[in-house]
């Protein structure tokens, strides 16, 4: 029965064998996980955020466990676009899975340059570009691009003009109105949206009276954020009907199907990769089995089918 379930997925212009991706920052560049997981069974791997220059990241502690979740403040540690193109992409390209490059910057020009270089130097090896817009904009007093509809639309439009690949914008949930920023990203030319990035949080050590993260604040992820993520995916789907990659606390097929029903076209496993590193690669089969039990014959028969009276 499960063999007849159609797992094929479409995220705007991007056609994938199945709707299961892994979230940027939770799966390295893919090859780190090949020692334990069958990476080729994923719909796509969204790679770790890239910046123009290499970044060493934040001092530790960078992570802290919280109830049903964790906070992280890694600080975008990455080898930079040159190191990525020279040494990492040739290895990741042999994984046999579509790759999505994730880019981050502190100015509009950073993003434009990154998108331009990926489009010209990695077009055959990279299937799409995802923009991490939960970064401080040095030109706007550190305001995050992702919290201002005006800033975000301008940023996406600038990148769109250089990007020759499908363009996905990963939205920050740390906003007053998620629909407004989603519409801004689409107005700027995004082909699809990813919801949600981490929720800003913190944790305190009462004995030392210090924050548990060296960076004081960090991004909350894991099962604890799933209800917030589902709500935002559904709000944006209802308002825009845009292709959405839904993520936030997904561990099981049931979790994934909830996101698809709420309006996501595909899903991504994030923090759960740290707990069960083979879970994401096994998820497509499990979605097929569970969805077939629910009477669906394809992924598209699930998307946005939530019944609200």
């Amino acid at each position: 029965m499960t063999s007849r379930f159609d797992l094929s997925a479409r995220i705007g212009p991007l056609a994938l064998a199945n709707p299961v991706l892994v979230a940027s920052g939770t799966f390295g560049f893919g090859m780190e996980m090949a020692r334990i997981a069958e990476v080729g069974r994923l719909g796509a791997v969204v790679m770790k955020s890239l910046t123009l220059k290499p970044r060493a990241g934040n001092p530790p502690p960078r992570i802290v466990e919280t109830p049903a979740g964790m906070l992280n403040a890694i600080g975008l540690e990455n080898p930079g676009i040159d190191g990525f193109l020279r040494t990492i992409l040739p290895q990741a390209g042999r994984l046999g899975v579509p790759l999505v490059a994730n880019i981050a910057g502190s100015t509009v020009d950073d993003y434009v340059q990154l998108a331009g270089r990926l489009s010209h130097e990695a077009a055959g090896a990279v299937a799409a570009i995802e923009m991490n817009v939960s970064c401080p904009n040095v030109g706007a007093k550190g305001l995050h691009f992702g919290v201002s509809p005006e800033l975000l639309e301008g940023l996406v439009a600038a990148v769109r003009s250089q990007a020759k690949l499908p363009l996905i914008v990963k939205l920050s949930p740390n906003v007053g109105d998620i629909v407004e920023v989603a519409q801004a990203a689409l107005a700027g030319g995004a082909d699809a949206l990813t919801l949600i990035n981490t929720l800003l949080g913190m944790a305190v050590d009462v004995r030392t009276r210090r924050p548990k993260l060296a960076n004081v604040t960090g991004g909350l992820s894991g099962p604890a954020v799933k209800p917030v993520a589902l709500r935002m995916v559904h709000q944006v789907w209802r308002a825009t009907r845009a292709p959405i990659i839904g993520l936030g606390g997904i561990a099981t097929a049931e979790d994934a199907i909830e996101f698809l029903m709420a309006g996501a076209s595909a899903v991504a496993v994030g923090t759960w990769n740290f707990i069960e590193p083979t879970a994401a690669a096994e998820l497509p089969e499990k979605i097929a089995a569970r969805a077939a039990e629910l009477g669906a014959a394809s992924v598209s028969e699930l998307i946005g089918t939530l019944v609200c009276d």
Binding site: G25, A34, I36, R55, A56, G57, E65, F274, E276
Partner: protein, 278 residues
Amino acid sequence: MDKNAFQLRSEVLANEDAGQRYRRMILAAPEIAAAAKPGQFVNLRVGDGLDPLLGRPFGVFHAEPDSGRVEILYRPTGRGTHMLAEVRPGERLGLVGPLGRGFTLEKDVEAHVAVGGGTGLAPVYFLSGRAAAAGFSTWLLFGFRDCSFGLPEALMRRTGAHFRLSSDAGEAGCLRGTAVDLLDLVLDRELAGKRVALYTAGPAIMMKLVAEAAARRGLPCQASLEAHMACGLSVCRGCVVALKGTAPDGGVLRRPVCTSGPVMNAAEVDWDRYLQGG
């Protein structure tokens, strides 16, 4: 790429008191038992619930490829390890491993000396067992606060290494002092003039002092480090420690403990930052 790490739901075969406030857990994990090398670790979940969420890293205490058994040693100190102490034989736990870079036995030395304290017993115990079994002259030195409730004798003898203990009070059979005092004594009295390699795991201050002793005496020294960790596979980048030297961006050079370690060349570690937690 060949798989060299495995995710299992592993049956707990035993979970028992091991003396010195340690508990020993024996897990059925054939793939991990066959592949694990001294100094490597496993990431073990303490249950199937979502709180606590993450696995806990434990250095492999003992692994038997023939029986498929992997042993860890832990002390119930935090919430996770207290929950672990309640697990009963027959239950299954999420287990990932073996992870990390283990110890490398130094070549061209006349004796291997492993120095441990606290939960650092596990990696140096496993190392000394494998080194002794391979026919090398091996010494396992261990520092306790109080020797009066020592580890079961049979467990200690299992390594086949020369075994020496220290404790604060210096009970019968123990040197009065620290593991580092014990190291100095053994190097000066029992291994004087010999080419020796050192291996250490345990409290930060102890490893720093062992690293300094090694540098002073011109001996190679490997240390097994610890850090807050999530994935154990270097994808979360959470568990970095500072090394001597400078990063490409001019900042502090940091490497993930989970894949660049946990065992590192002690001469390369920035011990002052390690003592301060990073």
